[in-house]
C-alpha cells in the first residue's frame, strides 16, 4: 500500500490542534463572560455553586415540589396556582372515591398550544403582529 503517512499524521496533529484551539478559545471567552457577568451584576458569588443561594429562594416552593411528582411536566407560563387547583381537585376526588392517597398524580398540565385566532374582543392575536 502506498499511504502518504506524513500527510496522514499531519492531518491527525493539525486536526487535534485546531479542535483544541477552537474549544480553548471558547473556554477562555466563556470564563471571561462569567467574570464580566458577575462583575456587572455585583454578585461576586456567581462563580460559586448555587447551593447556598437556592435554599433561600426555594423554601416556599419546596413543599409544593414534594407534593407534585417529578414526572409531572408543566409548561412554562402556567401559573403554579392553576396546577395547584387541578392537583387539589384530583386529590380531593380521589379521597372522596376512597382511593389511597398518592396512588394518582397529575401527569401533565399544559396550556392550549395555540390560541385560536378569536377576535372576540381583542382583535387578532399576538401571533399575527410580526408578519
Amino acid at each position: 500500500m502506498n499511504v502518504d503517512w506524513m500527510s496522514a499524521f499531519t492531518v491527525l496533529i493539525t486536526g487535534m490542534v485546531v479542535v483544541f484551539l477552537a474549544l480553548i478559545a471558547l473556554v477562555l471567552l466563556i470564563m471571561a463572560m462569567g467574570k464580566i457577568m458577575s462583575m456587572m451584576t455585583g454578585k461576586g458569588d456567581s462563580g460559586k455553586p448555587a447551593e447556598p443561594k437556592a435554599p433561600v429562594s426555594a423554601p416556599k416552593a419546596a413543599p409544593a415540589k414534594s407534593e407534585v411528582k417529578p414526572a409531572m411536566q408543566v409548561e412554562d407560563g402556567i401559573g403554579d396556582e392553576v396546577i395547584a387547583v387541578i392537583s387539589a381537585a384530583v386529590a380531593a376526588m380521589m379521597s372522596a372515591e376512597g382511593a389511597p392517597a398518592g396512588s394518582y398524580a397529575v401527569k401533565s398540565v399544559r396550556r392550549a398550544r395555540e390560541a385560536r385566532p378569536a377576535w372576540a374582543m381583542a382583535g387578532m392575536q399576538q401571533n399575527t403582529r410580526p408578519f
Binding site: M6, S7, F9, T10, V11, I13, T14, V17, V18, E114, P117, W119, A122, G123, M124, Q125, N127, T128, R129, P130, F131
Partner: protein, 376 residues
C-alpha cells in the same frame, strides 16, 4: 514532518476568518448583534427580526460564504424560496388563516381608509427618487410604508433584490415602533373633538358573507391588478380555509407549522442577503430614513382621510381609526384604541380600527401589484 504540520496549521490559520476579516464584516457582525438585542430584549418583532439578524451574522462571517448569493451554500438554497417569490405568499396563506375580516365586512367603508394609508408608499417613492434611487429601488423602498413584511419582501425580491436586507430590517423595525411613531402624528392632525367621537357597535356578519368575501376579493383585486394575485390569492385562500370551517386540519397547519417553517427560512435567508457590500452603503441609511418617512406619511394619509370621513359622515367616524390603515396588524389598531381612550376612557375603537387595519393589508398588496406592473 514537524514543519509540515506547522505549515498546515499555518495555512488553516491564514485561511481562517481571523486573518481574512474585513472591518466592514466586523461592523456588520456588531450590527447583527444590535438587531438580536432589539429582537430579544426589546421585543422588536422577534419572530422575524431574530432570524433576519442571525442570517446577517452568518452572511458576514469571513470565508464561510454563508450568504444568499453564494451558490452551493445552505443559505443559498433557502434563499431560492425568496428569489422565486414562494415564501411571501405562503406566509400570507397563514396570515389569511388567522385574520378575521368581519369588522371590514361589517363596515366596508373602512376599505377607503386602507386605501388612503397607502399614500405613504407613493409619497416615499417620490422621496426615494429624489434621493437618487432608481425607480425600481424607489418602489421597493416605498412599499416599506405598507407596513406588511411579506408584501415588502415580495416586491423587493422582484424589483430590487440587492436591497432586501436593508428593506426587511427597516420594515420590521418600524413595524415594532408603530406605537411610538404613530401617536404624535395622530394627535397633531386631529382636534380633541374629533378624537372623542364614539362609534356605534358593528353589525353581526353572517358566516356566508365571511365565506363569500375572500372569493370576491380574490377576483376583484386580481382582475384589476393581476400582479398582486399571488399575494392576495394566498391570503384569501387561507381566509377561506378558516371561514369555511371545513378544513380545520389544513387551517391549523397553514397558520402554524407551515408558516413557522417558511418564516425561519425566509428570515435567515433575507438576513443573509445583507452582506457588508450590500448593506454598508449610504443607501441603507437613506432607506432607514425613508422608511420612517413612509410610516409617518402613511399614518398621516390615513388620519387625514379619516378627517374627511368625519366631515362627510357628519361626525360619526373617529379619524383616529385612519392611522390603522397602514396595517401592521393588529398593532396599529391597538394604537388607535389607546389614543382614543386617552380622550374618552370608555371609548372602544379597536373593532372599528380593525376594519382599516385588515383593509390595509389588501391595499398594500394592490399597491405592490401596481408598482410591479409599472416598474417591473
Amino acid at each position: 514532518m514537524f514543519s509540515t504540520i506547522i505549515n498546515t496549521i499555518g495555512e488553516i490559520i491564514m485561511g481562517s476568518g481571523f486573518c481574512n476579516l474585513q472591518w466592514e464584516q466586523f461592523v456588520m457582525i456588531l450590527i447583527s448583534m444590535v438587531l438580536i438585542y432589539l429582537a430579544v430584549a426589546k421585543g422588536y418583532e422577534p419572530l422575524l427580526l431574530l432570524p433576519i439578524a442571525f442570517g446577517m451574522l452568518l452572511a458576514n462571517l469571513p470565508v464561510a460564504g454563508l450568504n444568499s448569493y453564494n451558490e452551493g451554500s445552505l443559505i443559498y438554497y433557502l434563499y431560492q424560496g425568496v428569489k422565486l417569490g414562494i415564501y411571501p405568499p405562503l406566509i400570507f396563506l397563514g396570515i389569511g388563516c388567522m385574520t378575521d375580516f368581519g369588522p371590514l365586512i361589517a363596515n366596508p367603508k373602512s376599505f377607503l381608509l386602507g386605501a388612503a394609508a397607502q399614500g405613504g408608499i407613493f409619497l416615499t417613492f417620490i422621496g426615494a427618487l429624489a434621493l437618487g434611487f432608481t425607480p425600481q429601488e424607489a418602489g421597493s423602498i416605498g412599499i416599506i410604508g405598507g407596513a406588511d413584511g411579506p408584501t415588502a419582501i415580495f416586491t423587493t425580491s422582484i424589483l430590487a433584490p440587492h436591497l432586501l436586507g436593508s428593506i426587511a430590517v427597516a420594515a420590521y423595525s418600524y413595524m415594532a415602533l408603530v406605537p411610538i411613531i404613530q401617536p404624535p402624528i395622530m394627535r397633531a392632525l386631529t382636534t380633541k373633538k374629533e378624537r372623542s367621537v364614539v362609534m356605534g357597535q358593528l353589525r353581526q356578519v353572517s358566516k356566508l358573507e365571511k365565506i363569500v368575501f375572500p372569493i370576491m376579493v380574490t377576483i376583484v383585486v386580481s382582475f384589476l391588478v393581476p400582479d398582486s394575485a399571488a399575494l392576495v390569492g394566498m391570503l384569501m385562500l387561507g381566509n377561506l380555509f378558516k371561514e369555511s370551517g371545513a378544513v380545520d386540519r389544513l387551517t391549523k397547519t397553514a397558520q402554524n407549522e407551515l408558516m413557522n417553517i417558511v418564516t425561519i427560512f425566509l428570515g435567515v435567508s433575507v438576513g443573509a442577503t445583507a452582506t457588508y457590500d450590500h448593506f454598508l452603503t449610504p443607501s441603507t441609511l437613506k432607506i432607514i430614513a425613508l422608511g420612517l418617512i413612509a410610516f409617518c406619511f402613511g399614518t398621516a394619509c390615513g388620519v387625514l382621510f379619516g378627517k374627511l370621513m368625519y366631515i362627510f359622515s357628519g361626525g360619526k367616524v373617529n379619524p383616529l381609526i385612519g392611522s390603522a390603515g397602514v396595517s401592521a396588524v393588529p398593532m396599529a389598531a391597538r394604537v388607535s384604541q389607546k389614543v382614543g381612550q386617552k380622550e374618552v376612557p370608555t371609548n372602544y375603537l379597536l373593532m372599528h380600527a380593525m376594519g382599516p387595519n385588515v383593509a390595509g393589508v389588501i391595499g398594500s398588496a394592490v399597491a405592490a401589484g401596481v408598482l410591479i406592473n409599472i416598474l417591473g
